[in-house]
């Protein structure tokens, strides 16, 4: 039964991440965010903080069990998407991993509190917002691919195919 449940989780996470990605664009264009977009940004910031082992979560023990499992399942996708935009990081002038870590911390903070940068956490610059957009949008698409194989035929041996998004298997004998 994991198939349906995990499909729904992936669709929901993908939608939220895509909302957050598009909202980052709106912030950069200084357009107003609606309630859904603000909520999506906040969710993305809090969730990515749990997912990214490179930015320590101060109260990891407070994370809900369900969120912890979602984070475990999505973490490989997060790293894959991050590595995929490595060339863009270099193009933007990043040379050390500590700079990436610092940028990601700043990104999560901006997502959690859109339009209200705190002390030492200034607003994202245009190139940073672009990197943030690419990361979030890339993750949103990667999660959808796990549901729909990006339109390509699934390997099958019968008239049925068994979904295995995120390596979840169907419930059978």
């Amino acid at each position: 039964m994991e198939d349906l449940s995990s499909v729904v989780s992936l669709l929901t996470m993908s939608s939220n991440l895509e909302h957050a990605a598009m909202s980052l664009r709106k912030i950069l264009e200084e357009r107003e965010l609606d309630e859904t977009e603000t909520a999506a940004l906040k969710w993305a910031g809090e969730f990515l903080r749990v997912v990214d082992w490179g930015t320590a979560v101060p109260d990891a023990q407070d994370v809900d069990g369900h969120v912890a499992v979602q984070a475990t399942s999505i973490r490989p996708t997060f790293y894959a998407c991050l590595f995929r935009i490595g060339p863009e990081f270099k193009e933007a002038g990043f040379t050390k991993e500590s700079e990436v870590t610092s940028f990601l911390g700043k990104l999560y903070h901006n997502l959690e509190q859109p339009g209200a940068p705190g002390r030492g956490r200034p607003k994202l610059k245009a190139t940073e917002a672009d990197l943030g957009y690419q990361l979030l949008h890339g993750m949103a698409e990667a999660l959808l691919v796990q549901v729909d194989s990006n339109g390509s035929p699934r390997p099958y041996t019968t008239d049925e195919w068994d979904q295995t998004p995120n390596e979840f298997a169907i419930a059978s004998v």
């Binding site: 449940s5 082992w53 809900d64 069990g65 059978s172």
Partner: protein, 447 residues
Amino acid sequence: MSSPSPVFDEIAWRDTELRREVRRCATGLSKLAKTIQLTEDFITPTPRKLAALISETSALIAEAVERRIPTAELAAVNSFLSNAALHLRFVERARVAQTPWSLVQPAEELLKLAAGQGTHFIIRPTWSYNYSIRGDFWAQYKRYLESRKWFSLDLVRQRADISDTEKVYCVSFPRIERANALLHALWGHEVGHILVARWVRDTFDTEWKKAELEIKKKFEASVRKSPPPAGELFKERAIQDEIAKLTNATRVVAQQGITELLCDHVGGHLFGPAALAATLEFAARFSLDAPPESSSQNYPPWRYRIRQIVLSCDADLADHAEIGYPPPKLKPFVEWLREAKRIADSKSDETLIRNNPVTNQAYDFITTHWTSAATSVIGMLPPELSKPYRLSERYARVVSLIERIEQRLPPNTVDGYPGSPASLQDILCAGWAYKALQIHGNPAWGT
């Protein structure tokens, strides 16, 4: 932003195209589902219920596409519709001609009793050689759609005439086994999935969170010894990625493993030796020791599963001379089932599990949580089913059903005419015992 160019706005292009396509597909799916709902013949109302749910949900999505669905959600909505379209095949394959119609109603009654009233089952054949359960469709549709501000679940409730206490599942069985009622004892395992899903939701996540840190530490030590190649920007994160993959693989194996084993436990509890017999016959086709990995969809080895079911019905495999168990008509069946104990005695499956760090840690997790999980899942059954089925306690009834089969009478009643209706569990046990009795006399029987 780097993605859209000033001369061609790719996001706008996609929005236009996808919006039109989603609307067209949602409308088409709604009509198709409605046609199937109204024109096909089914044994129970459940297939029509799912068709109505798909039809009304798609129609409401079609109505919302033009103005209300945000661009950011269109691709996911398209995927949602593609999945809902796949669910129509469950409806279509549940037509009267496709199903073991004489078994569907009693089976649905037992499944409902185990899973709770308000639960509906579609029972349908599948071409793949597999038993499976999918659902609850309504709960999952709600889960996705309830946070979509542009969608009204209330309208679906009204139009599809479905309440929040209802659940809709589909149980599949191999098409070539349509008439082989004995193998359908595996439905006990499938209904177990409904209960085990509750345990996973309520308990697994919390227990996993507690265990994950230690699991991660163990992998970290080995990954740091030979870190993966990486450039300057992602040296540490490449290590984290490797650990994350191993940790997630462990979670998948642990979750899949404990789920399947708990479902076997429920099957053994509900159907006793019939469940063991069906599992043995099913497993004989495959490798008994194939370890839990992605090629086997992370399922536990068959030998491991057989061992767990043997534990569930151990009492029925023993001799109880003081009560004359097993009687002569059951002896070949019990003897045949004892082969399961000999299969379980070998530990070749466990050796393979322990040789792989991922499966080793996953099965440590399973072992740690097994007793409390099994108790908790059995505790979810209604009082009528809280006691395990014991052939050794019901053998007189089962023998009387075997005698009816020998007389070519349906094994559906006990205590003579008109008697009282036999339980599905007794019927299946009698069927298996009769089969074993015949094979004992003639090994080629039934082939």
